[in-house]
Amino acid sequence: MRRWLPHPLMAGFLLLAWLLLRQSLAPATVASGVVIALGLAWAFGKLRPPRARVRHYSLLGKLLLRVLRDIVRSNLAVAWIVLRRRGRFTSGFVAIPLELTDHYGLAALACIITSTPGTIWVDHDSARNVLLIHVLDLVDEASWIDTIKQRYERPLLEIFQ
Amino acid sequence: MSAHLLVLPIVLPLLVAALQLLLGERRRRLVAALSVASCVALVLLAAALLVGVTGAAAGDGLTTVYRIGDWPARFGIVLVADRLSVLMLLLTAVLALALLPCALGRWQQPGGPVQPMFQFLLMGLNGTFLTGDLFNLFVFFEVLLAATYGLALHRPGARRVSAGLHYIAVNLLASMLFLVGVSLIFGVTGTLNMAALAQLIPTVPDNTRALLHAGAAILGVAFLVKAAMWPLGFWLPRTYAAATSPVAAMFAIMTKVGVYVLLRLSLLLFGNGAGPASAHFGDSWLLWGGMATVVVGVVGMLGARDLGKLAGYNVLISSGTLLGAIGLQHPAVTAGALAYLVISTLAIAAFFLLAGMLAPDDEAEATPLLEPYDPAGEALYADEDENRATLPAPVALLGMCFLVCALVLAGLPPLSGFLAKFALLAPMLETGAGRGAIALFTLVVVAGFCTVIAMCRTGIQIFWADEDWTFPPIRLGEAVSVLILLGSCLALSVWADAPLRYLAATAEQLHAPAHYIRAVFP
């Protein structure tokens, strides 16, 4: 199984993407999709990526919803900041110590943080496992640290480690 | 198979190049063998086509047309082989074959895939000569230009690279002009097929005829850049002088490509059949521009102090002469011009080779700072400099070759240069001896005289005066190449009649474009 399908997740995602791209479920499409997906997954394997092991898919969905909610909120917030005249607000860097070490987890965290407006992933020090982010509207650091750790890191930990 | 003969001169080199790429440089012998095979095959092909086109009575030989992809001529791309194209094919093939011994000798050193490049160049040349479609012409121009970039930059050194930079920049600009011109013509006539254009041009409505002419003019400039007409040809002498000798020798035909296209298009599109408004469009420009080119070339040649430059300016002179001759628009003169084209190409090629043999290639590669890079995955192109068998230069042989070259270039007897000059000049008097004709006549004679002066000085300098002139040891291949080229010149002067008849017929055919059109649209 592993031999033939080294990266099931990747293969699956590729197949899905293929079907979406081709916009059809004709047997020919599916067949070609399977072939291509397997081939590409194999090629991906040649790159020797770190192993991915996803534990709770349910949590994944919950996290996704949570992120979406945050995105909505921060979108409005940032939009407001941009639009209002002579707004006084301070922005700055926040350093957050992490437990999360799994690459995929970190990657997910990066995507989350960066794609929510108002926060940006700046740097991650693998040695000290400290994350550095930049916040647009920085009120107090502690709360931010807390938010990140509680809302995002915890579930990611559970999912990936 | 004979039906498909026409496409092979283009496809064969491409095929060979692809194979050579797949073989890589590890199998040098095989690669070289492939090159030789393809060149021989090209000569044979050209000969076969020659037989084909000379089948019918002189004047209008049979023009064979090949419809690529089996699409009707007006819409698809056609290849057309008439006497002129076949002539150019043959010239190219012979030149390539003659240069091969020298080139193989030189190209054994590493320096990237030169042999495929050479094949690509042949493909581009043949395509340019065969295609009957304006945009396809552009594509093949690009092919051969790209190949020349590659060859001109072979074994880069400071001089070569900066010359190449200029060459490329100029030609890129020219290509842009080419595109603009083609698209304008297409916009006005709605077709790209040359024969169809020839049919349509008389019927172009007057309100867009100006656009047509603008397009033609821009196109013309693009070609003139390639044909190195003054003042568009300053790039030429430096580039050619900088290139390694076999490459430069092959370049001897490059300017002729521009000349060929001008000849073809000016006679096909703007010949007598083009209606009152467009007939003989731009002839006088060709005539006087050509003369200016000759003047500049002559002066430059007189001033040139090294062999490469000397040869380069000779290229200028010959292409200027040809342009002027085309400008006269007279069948007999055209025939003479063709003769001159063939002879000068061969002679200049030989002269470039000689230059390479007489003056050592000072443009050795700059000492590398870094270790060479080889692509990951494949360790092609290892660097072993294998030294070919060289023989101490027999000065007498070199001297004789130089003398012969000089004679041919100056148009002095006994070799074919004299005949070519005669064939070119004598008809000029028959054209009713207009102002232009007389001027060109005089100019060509004077140019011959100045060539004598320049060659005489250089020859004396090298062979008599300079006691401690170091003749680098020459490779056998080089000698063979030169001898082949000069031998062909000699042969052309002994058995001159049949070729000249052929050329006369060719000129007739060119001046009667109706024939071409009929061939494409039966």
Partner: protein, 117 residues
């Protein structure tokens, strides 16, 4: 615009609103890019475009085409996915680069790591 006329009114209104919202957010984002004072602030602005802007616009076109062709078309979802995957990469590197350059210019000292301000 015949194919748009083919849309049922509700769909038309919906698409219109979504399109307006999307473009609006993108607009605001770029405005922020223009107005905000220093780089670190500006970095945040375009995210609006990549999140909400893209989201609404894609939703709009999904609805539009699905209704128009009478079958569900999720084609555009891919765009969203790719966008969310790719924007972080560039932004991270960009901020990193900015940080580095600022550090270098302030004092010829290389960027200190986590301990900032």
């Amino acid at each position: 615009m015949n194919h748009l006329d083919a849309l049922p009114p509700w769909a038309a209104v919906m698409v219109g609103v979504l399109v307006l919202l999307g473009s609006g957010f993108a607009f605001v984002g770029s405005l922020g890019l223009l107005r905000l004072k220093d780089f670190y602030k500006r970095v945040h602005a375009p995210t609006l475009g990549t999140t909400f802007g893209a989201f609404f616009m894609l939703a709009g076109s999904i609805i539009c085409f699905s209704v128009a062709h009478g079958r569900p078309i999720f084609y555009e979802i891919l765009i969203g996915v790719f966008l969310t995957l790719t924007t972080p990469i560039t932004l991270m590197l960009l901020v990193r680069a900015a940080l580095y350059r600022n550090r270098v210019e302030e004092a010829q000292e290389p960027p200190r790591r986590t301990t900032l301000e």
